[in-house]
Symmetry: C2
Subunit: 387 residues, 2 copies
């Protein structure tokens, strides 16, 4: 792997996922529990002697444990945050031991709806228990236990990943030094939930969904997944960015006066929908959107986010993007305000970027430099790190 790293400066090189199996039942927020489950994990960099340099990266809706690098047999399969994590990158794997973990219920190797339900001997399907952000965090904490990590240097994520980081700071205040929450929100708005529910309805009403048991029927609810992804994708991009990239550009010279493709934006969205329906699991889409909808740490403090964050101990970095209308800067500011009311140390940046919600995944030097500077500070504060 060292050779690959030198061959590809800035990349962690070829990586290999590991499966961690957990026999003990994990109690879930719903009251159900799940036993005998597997989490798929990737790590980059080396854990230092006192195990103080670990960084946990939490993923959003359609990502996975494959955060950085590539697979030897799939050189084009690059990790989803490869611009953020690697040697010399903002989260520098020369200094940090970085962990990516695929969440329970996802469809990239960790136990999910397509796996066998031990109670029935058949795939879980829609019976896979609805899991929450807090459930995922509890599962991640067990993984940390197994890895011997008592406290993370940082827990970090964007969007739904940022919710997990925030939940870590509430549920396990002593287990993270820093909490990095990017393009996230303390809870979904009615409009956010509305978009998620339309997407779910498209899947649930697809005749090929078969109540979630489509595996047994040898079909996939592609139509529903495709529409769901198209809706989602619109909310990930900014209006301005779409106007800039596609505008009213036509695929052909003139209007077609039919229901094929007229505009480039149609072609792009349909392609995104088709691609997504090739690889994503419909039951996973349902349960992950539910985890998004349910996240609301202030729900048990009468809507008071300051109270909900009162037990946190970490230092915080938050970042938002001006054109993100899915989770707008205002939502990040609510978190910042609640943390400041609790006298927490908070760094916050509102980054002027044209790319909407997706900006958290893209190259933007101000954004990447901000994260780099924050992790530089963490690195210098670490004991036993060879800087």
């Amino acid at each position: 792997m060292e050779e690959c790293m030198s061959a590809l400066p800035g990349s962690v090189g070829a990586v290999t996922p590991q499966a961690f199996h957990f026999e003990a039942p994990l109690p879930l927020q719903s009251g159900a529990s799940i036993a005998g489950y597997t989490l798929m994990v990737e790590t980059y960099g080396s854990l230092n002697a006192d195990k103080s340099n670990a960084v946990l990266i939490c993923h959003a809706l359609n990502a996975s444990h494959h955060v950085a690098g590539y697979y030897a047999d799939q050189p084009k399969n690059i990790g989803w945050w490869d611009n953020m994590v690697g040697p010399g990158k903002p989260v520098d794997t020369n200094r940090f031991f970085v962990i990516g973990v695929n969440n329970l219920g996802s469809c990239f190797g960790s136990t999910g709806p397509m796996h066998t339900n031990p109670a029935t001997g058949k795939p879980y399907g829609a019976d896979f228990p609805v899991v929450t952000v807090e459930d995922w965090v509890n599962a991640q904490a067990r993984l940390a236990d197994v890895m011997g990590i008592k406290q993370f240097a940082a827990v970090m994520g964007g969007s739904l990943g940022g919710m997990q980081a925030l939940a870590w700071s509430i549920l396990y205040p002593d287990r993270l030094q820093n909490c990095v929450v990017i393009a996230s929100t303390p809870k979904l708005s009615a409009q956010n939930i509305a978009f998620n529910d339309v997407a779910r309805q498209a899947i649930l009403t697809d005749p090929d969904f078969h109540g979630g048991d489509f595996y047994a029927h040898g079909v996939v609810p592609r139509r529903g997944l495709r529409v769901a992804r198209m809706i989602g994708h619109i909310t990930y991009l900014s209006d301005d960015d779409m106007a800039e990239k596609f505008g009213r550009d036509l695929k052909s010279d003139d209007y077609q006066f039919g229901y094929g493709v007229d505009f480039e934006i149609e072609s792009y969205l349909r392609y995104q929908g088709d691609k997504f329906s090739d690889y994503f699991d419909a039951n996973t889409y349902l349960l992950i959107t539910k985890a998004l909808d349910y996240f609301d740490p202030a729900r048990h403090t009468d809507g008071d986010l300051t109270k909900a964050l009162a037990t946190t101990k970490a230092q915080f970095l938050l970042a938002s993007f001006t054109t993100d209308w899915r989770f707008s800067p205002e939502r990040s500011r609510e978190i910042v305000k609640a943390l400041i009311s609790n006298k927490r140390t908070v760094s916050y940046a509102e980054i002027d970027a044209p790319h909407g919600h997706d900006a958290f995944l893209l190259d933007d030097s101000r954004y990447l430099n901000l994260v780099a500077a924050y992790f530089d500070r963490i690195a210098t504060e670490l004991k036993g790190v060879s800087a």
Copy 2:
């Protein structure tokens, strides 16, 4: 009818639609033409002696010729702009002769996809020619000819109806004194088109759509229509209004941890989708969204809206609503700016209203008073009107 009017002050009372049949083929922008078609029409008030007090009301996506009043056998079936049109209302039927017309291709009585294609003897289905805003305006002009109306006191509409009013001012500059364009846009943005295309894809991929020939199969693509309407509905409301009306309110005491209804907003949207799929035609949805996508009067003037509006002669009233993110005030301002560059007389109001795009249909005293004042001015300028 006079008795009904006095029984229900402010309402035009019970109304009866009329069918106007046109034998001569109407040439369409696509190059196709349609012959032997019917337009459903309602009128309110009386045409004056010199036929100068006629006001044409153009409808948006899911509305019709039924603008005001009710049907004697359906007293709850109130016209869609009944708060705007009636005796003593902003468009005062004591002074104006108001015409509502259902557009070609719609599903409320005018010739549309569910009617028999004379060429095949079967319903048109998806073969109904794709019509444009300009085609509708040409059909409306023929109706005006038959009614003996050479010039309208005003042509008026909101949203897609506003596009028709604007197209009137370009295509028939001598046939309208005033053009009233509310909550509209000179063209759809990439994001607008994207939402329309996802909705169309939901319908087109519904197995019950049968390529548009679902009539012959005795089914309706309800799943697709339902999802299409849910998507549309999200774009009609403002984020703030949804937050205010629904927030994160639950239907029950707690999360359900399943895929039924958790949140009030889900219940509301699904209800809207169900209701819509009961009455709206899927082929009509497709073609009306295409008419929206295609509207772009500056397309043949190299994108220069000022040039596109150079031949207009009408006086203009435009209004937009601050929280309308479908057709934002900025889009109305583009029209205003282009009109002013052409030295047209323009009144423009940006109304601070919380209800998003739907505000153009709702009661808001500033908005209704604005329109009332504008039509007062028109009335005083009319010759031969008994004021």
